[in-house]
């Protein structure tokens, strides 16, 4: 197991290096010029050229890459071309809102989604199953921004129960922090609830039709024991895989949700950076996110051993 983990961690570094090279080349070869963005829409060509020179964008690509790779190896992610602030500082300022939103969404999605899936499997073919299946189809189909603006209209503008937008740090109080996260969390959770409910339902249905479940029923096991002790434990691996994949989808969902609810997270940081071609920020965020994603996959793989003792690494 330890050897497996070390091997995976080493491969994570290799993957991040490849991601770094890919992102660097992709950004430099894609059309767009941060100097032109800085200078404004109708700037004269000489001004743009001067800014390019100052930013080092006129240097040959390999030279730019060597400078960047050297700094990265030292742990220096560079500074934003636009704000002039260190990239790591910019990212660290944005981590709390994104982690808060991501964790809240994951908790809500997993708890509600898996419960819905189990209930639907338990009542397969009955009203509860049909209702939850319909919800899943709808929840998975409606884009997050539509749900977001709908919630804003109902819960913020019409009823004025919740704030429209913004984020309050948990340091300023758990109450305001929680209140500002309710709408974005629920809006972002809906597709994941739907997705996890479908996966959990399918896994549970498969398990519930197994011989050992019939044996358990014949022995007089209660519905609770059937579903949660025998059923869920054996249906766990596909659900865990789905939760792991949800992380990847969550990253893209967070970008939209943060924009709709004006949450100053990593998603908005990278969108703004892409729009303005702020190369150091894009590179820094994507490398960290790719590393995080690889680590999450590793965690999911390791968690299989907890739900299925037959799995060994």
């Amino acid at each position: 197991m330890a050897v497996y983990v070390i091997r995976r961690l080493v491969s994570t570094i290799a993957i991040m290096a490849m991601v770094g090279i890919f992102i660097f080349l992709l950004l430099r070869l894609a059309p767009g010029d941060p100097a032109a963005v800085m200078a404004g829409r109708n700037a004269d060509p000489q001004t743009i050229a001067n800014i390019r020179e100052q930013l080092g964008l006129n240097e040959p690509l390999p030279v730019q890459f060597i400078h960047w790779a050297r700094d990265m190896l030292r742990g220096d992610f560079g500074t934003s071309i636009f704000s002039g602030w260190p990239v790591l500082e910019l990212i660290s300022q944005r981590v709390e809102p994104t982690v808060s939103l991501g964790v809240m969404t994951l908790i809500l999605s997993v708890s509600v989604g898996v419960t819905f899936g189990i209930l639907a499997a338990w009542g397969a073919g009955r009203v509860v199953d049909l209702a939850l299946t319909a919800f899943s189809a709808l929840g998975y189909s409606v884009p997050v921004f539509v749900v977001g603006y709908f919630f804003i209209y109902v819960f913020a503008i019409r009823t004025q129960w919740l704030p429209v937008q913004g984020y309050v740090s948990i340091e300023q109080g758990v109450g305001p922090w929680f209140v500002h996260l309710i709408l974005p969390t629920v809006a972002l959770s809906i597709p994941y609830v739907a997705y996890l409910a479908r996966i959990a339902r399918a896994s549970m249905l498969e398990v519930l039709s197994e011989d050992y479940m019939r044996t358990a029923a014949a022995k007089g096991a209660s519905s609770y024991a059937m579903l949660f002790h025998h059923g869920l434990k054996n249906a766990g691996a596909p659900i865990l895989t789905a939760i792991g994949l949800s992380f990847a989808y969550l990253i893209s969902g967070v970008v939209i949700t943060e924009t709709v609810f004006n949450v100053p997270g990593v998603g908005r940081l990278v969108v703004d950076a892409i729009t303005s071609r702020d190369y150091p920020v894009i590179q820094g965020v994507l490398i960290l996110v790719s590393g995080l994603y690889v680590l999450i996959n590793l965690a999911v793989d390791l968690s299989y051993t907890l739900v299925d003792p037959r799995i060994r690494y």
Binding site: P45, N50, Q54, F82, G84, I157, Q160, Q165, V179, S276
Partner: protein, 510 residues
């Protein structure tokens, strides 16, 4: 529960203004030409001269000034009470360094530097600009609103190259940037500069007294739809870009109002590649003038008729130099048959015309799509090349044919009131602009502008320039639009000028 939550989450008070102003990314106003950077500059920095509501320069930081008899030496004396946010006094050396820095990057600044023999301080409060030749419009150039604006910085900041960003955010203006509360991506906070000494004359445009009437302005980054929702809910006081399709919603809300800040608005302009077929031929360019029906284009760029106007003068609708010279032959536009005939006379033989379509700018994208449709109707092989604006900017530098990644047409805009020969990027015909627009006769007249002293002389020159422009068809204008902001009625005192200023704002009880 809900009311308790609201109390926790809506801390707006009578001395704090919350404004959704867009994404402020660059703090150095000499470096960037973007609108948010100018708003930031107006809040924390000050200028030697400021434009009043009639766009006439008035002294701002300058107390007294004069010009020598030979009109080659200008002397400026700073008014009393000017100080930096770090507590040190503003000196003539700060002004000299700032003008030099701005002069490295701003087109207007470069004009001054080209004419200047020297810029030097006389004493702590006085400095002079000595010229090789008289420059009658020097104060206009020092007041120019076409970014980068000549904001005055501390000497130690201004001594940095203009292409190297100043991030200290220490100015001498009526508001101070609060670094401790800066939350990039969420909001920035500006506090009233309690030590600021305003001028004694009344506020008029950007000129006169800059009185900060609120303690704090919070710059919010919400995108347009979210900002409007927050405005409706009372979380914000001001939204810069309310979605045009929701104007009626705003007008039906008793707490909100639309207001036009930049009354002169923006001109949309169709730029052609003069170096490549078919627009290397003047007849093809004339065809575009006949083809464009401005009313039709304005309907897709500014759907509400209250906020749009047609435009035929290259000097805009609102400058003193706006005129009708040489416009009668195309004035009506919307003549596809004439356009078709002119394309034929230009030798057009079905070559592909690539229209750069910026999908992240709805107005220009809508206009690009309409243009493609209109061209196809008269048999022109028009193709849209969709991208974001940033990619468009990169591609428009390509002067080659469309087969080599070049382009034929793109649509852009600029302030109407800055359509002056020396400042307007649209009015350069020196060949170094995108698309290689070049006309030596026009360019010679453009440079004459610098040497004219009277309004009448300039008006006459403007007519001559416009006659030549529409002969060689430098570009095609698509109309003038004004864009209202939305605000809560409790927010008053907004200065109706192109860029948003924080002074004079106040909140009245609802």
């Amino acid at each position: 529960m809900p009311s308790v939550l609201r109390a926790q989450t809506a801390p707006t008070d009578a001395r704090t203004v919350r404004m959704a102003l867009g994404n402020l990314q660059i703090f150095d106003p000499h470096l960037a030409g973007t609108d948010p950077t100018v708003f930031h500059g107006l809040a924390i920095y000050d200028t030697l001269f400021s434009l009043d509501s009639k766009y006439v320069p008035q002294p701002q930081m300058v107390g007294k000034w004069g010009v020598s008899d030979d009109k080659k030496t200008y002397t400026f004396e700073l008014r009393d009470g000017l100080g930096w946010h770090d507590g040190t006094p503003v000196t003539a050396a700060d002004c000299v360094a700032s003008i030099r820095r701005w002069g490295q990057v701003a087109p207007t600044g470069k004009l001054i530097m080209a004419r200047a023999k020297g810029i030097s301080k006389k004493d702590d409060k006085t400095f002079s600009i000595t010229l090789k030749e008289p420059l009658g419009i020097l104060t206009e150039l020092l007041t120019e609103l076409a970014a980068p604006v000549p904001f005055i910085m501390r000497e130690k900041d201004a001594d940095r190259p203009a292409t190297e960003q100043v991030t200290a955010n220490i100015g001498s203006g009526p508001f101070k940037f609060n670094n401790a509360l800066a939350k990039p991506g969420a909001n920035f906070t500006y506090d009233r500069n309690e030590k600021y000494v305003p001028r004694s004359d009344a506020s008029d445009g950007y000129a006169g007294a800059k009185v900060a009437k609120v303690d704090r302005v919070i710059w919010d980054f919400a995108e347009a739809n979210t900002a409007l929702a927050a405005l409706q809910a009372g979380e914000l006081d001001f939204a810069r870009f309310p979605p045009a399709d929701l104007y009626s919603t705003i007008e039906s809300d008793p707490n909100l109002v639309l207001q036009v800040m930049n009354k002169s608005g923006n001109n949309m302009c169709l730029r052609m590649n003069h170096l490549q077929k078919p627009f290397d031929n003047v007849k093809a360019r004339q065809a575009m003038l006949h083809l464009i029906d401005q009313e039709a284009f304005l309907r897709v760029t500014a759907p509400d008729p209250r906020y749009r106007h047609t435009l035929t003068s290259i000097f805009g609708n609102t400058t003193p130099y706006s005129n009708d010279e040489n416009t009668s032959w195309f004035k009506k536009g919307g003549d596809p048959e004439k356009a078709k005939q002119l394309f034929k006379e230009a030798g057009y033989a079905g070559e592909k015309i690539v229209i750069l379509d910026p999908t992240d700018w709805a107005q220009a994208s809508n206009a690009s799509q309409l243009l493609a449709s209109e061209l196809r109707k008269i048999g022109v092989n028009a193709e849209l090349a969709s991208s974001d604006w940033n990619s468009l900017e990169a591609r428009r530098k390509n002067k080659g044919p469309v087969e080599s990644g070049g382009w034929s047409i793109y649509i852009t805009d600029d302030f109407d009131h800055t359509q002056l020969p020396i400042t307007a990027s649209f009015l350069r015909a020196s060949g170094d602009t995108d698309g290689g627009l070049k006309n030596d006769e026009f360019e010679a007249l453009r440079l004459e502008w610098l040497d004219l002293d009277t309004l009448e002389e300039r008006k006459l020159l403007a007519r001559k320039m416009q006659r030549i422009w529409w002969d060689f068809v430098g570009d095609v204008r698509l109309g003038q639009m004004v864009t209202p902001i939305a605000r809560r009625k409790t927010l008053t005192g907004l200065i109706e000028m192109p860029y948003i200023a924080f002074w004079n704002l106040q909140k009245v009880s609802g």
